[in-house]
Amino acid sequence: MKKINLFLLIFGFLSLIIILFLSLPIVKLFYDVGFEKLLETFQDKEVYSSIYLTFKVSFYAVLFVIFTGIPLGYLIARYDFKGKIILESIIDIPVMVPHTAAGIALLMMFQKGFLDINIVDTTTGIMIAMMFLSSPFLINGAKEGFRKVDIKYEYAARTLGANHFQLFFSVVLPSARNEIVNGALMMWSRGIGEFGAVVIISYHPMVAPILIYDRFNSYGLNYSAPVAAMMIFVSMIVFLSIRSWNNVK
């Protein structure tokens, strides 16, 4: 008879508890909403416009941080300088503060037209709120990715004629790709789910989390649940696709 591995049995059981905790509410939501209602919701213009807006604006936020946060992640990973610990703490602040507090801080900063940017009830405002709260995921992901790339790869590339920019794009970036893509994905998903800061800065145009909240408040659970299911369904499809692509080599 095959010997039972007690260690695996206990760990498997404990893991199963948390897997069920994480997945059952989603399964129950889809079960209660049903396929027909989901299809109907998909044809609701307000719903798909809202989901599209959420994904688009969060994607723009990710793009902005790709251009600014990746260089920052590289500098932190590669160089030691005074105040590095403080800088790393500043980057992590948005993860720690309540999102509504972050929304208030952003509103105070931009309400008088700082840099001529109007954030109240604009997509720019939504993007800034999303970016503020989710950029640490990409910056920290990139930083960890760069830390794993041995600096000797860079030296080897330079002895073969590549300058710093060239080796960054030809060696460092591809070697840290997995962590950067995962960081970007985390940032994107965090942006998509952002509610607290966005609701303070820009109730309209409505992003999906606000639409769900709005329908729940105005019409109740039966009207908000299909939107929530739709949002979860689209998110799952998008993230599963990107994760699978990223894991292929």
Partner: protein, 324 residues
Amino acid sequence: MLQLENISLKYDNFSLNNISLNIKNGEYFVILGSTGSGKTLLLESIVGIHNIMGKIFLHNKEITNLPIEVRNIGLVYQDFMLFPHLNVEQNISYAAKYSKHILKDKELSLLLSLLKIDHLLKRDISLLSGGEKQRVALARALYAKPDILLLDEPLSAIDPSMRENIMHILKEVIKNFQITIIHVTHNFREAAFLADRIAILLNGNIVQIGKKDEVLTSPKTLQIAQFLGFKNILSGKVLGKEGIKYCSVNPNAIILYKNYIDLENVYKVILLDVCYAVDHYKVYVQLLEEVLFLKIYKSIFDELDIKIDDECYIYIRKDGILVL
């Protein structure tokens, strides 16, 4: 060709001190040093990774402050540093993207066949053995046609059974491409097999430079002799000379006898220990306050019938004594 003038560098708690070397065109120059002696730091300084004091000249042109990518000095690391996201062919041809100064197709074909990697070109780096990785790293560095190639312990990460093979390949490549090489290692066999000249680097200082036979057989100081693994180092006074002197006695030049024989350089000793080593014994004997080590064939030792703690005699051949 390559001149180092008083290179000094402080790095954490370690320093390279006033290193001066002249490497000739086409020379295979080996820097021998123990772990932590500064070998890699010296190579990285030549490549341009560290800010150094002193001057570096290549073909009589000062390159001390030039960026790494324009020095045209190749470097092969101990752990090869092959780019993991590129296959063998892409790794080798990496330099083609950034320089026109590369091997021609015909030269590349010759190089690949000499290194015996022409069948691996499409292979993923993660699927290569240590020896294959090493040869790919060599090909990648040589493809960029460096003026001088620096090898950082290139054979230490390779299975010992493959090392000899790679050393032969390395010699063949050098013969065909007439390249100047600085090779750092702690392995005396590699140095003896490959080097034209050898420098000994200890604690950040070059302590001896010379032709390989001269350095490997005639260490200038006690410290170098200890590093080179010289056995039976004895201290004493030389008649008519001041201070303590040291000499090393070659274990193969000591002959063990059960009974006294009437010759010069015969001493009474006590047998301390005998260790079996494949085809011979390692025998340890006590001579006054010193312990000497000698090698003796198993059959000869058995015939002598000497037991531990027995008194016996050793004869030391004069040509086996090296005064340090």
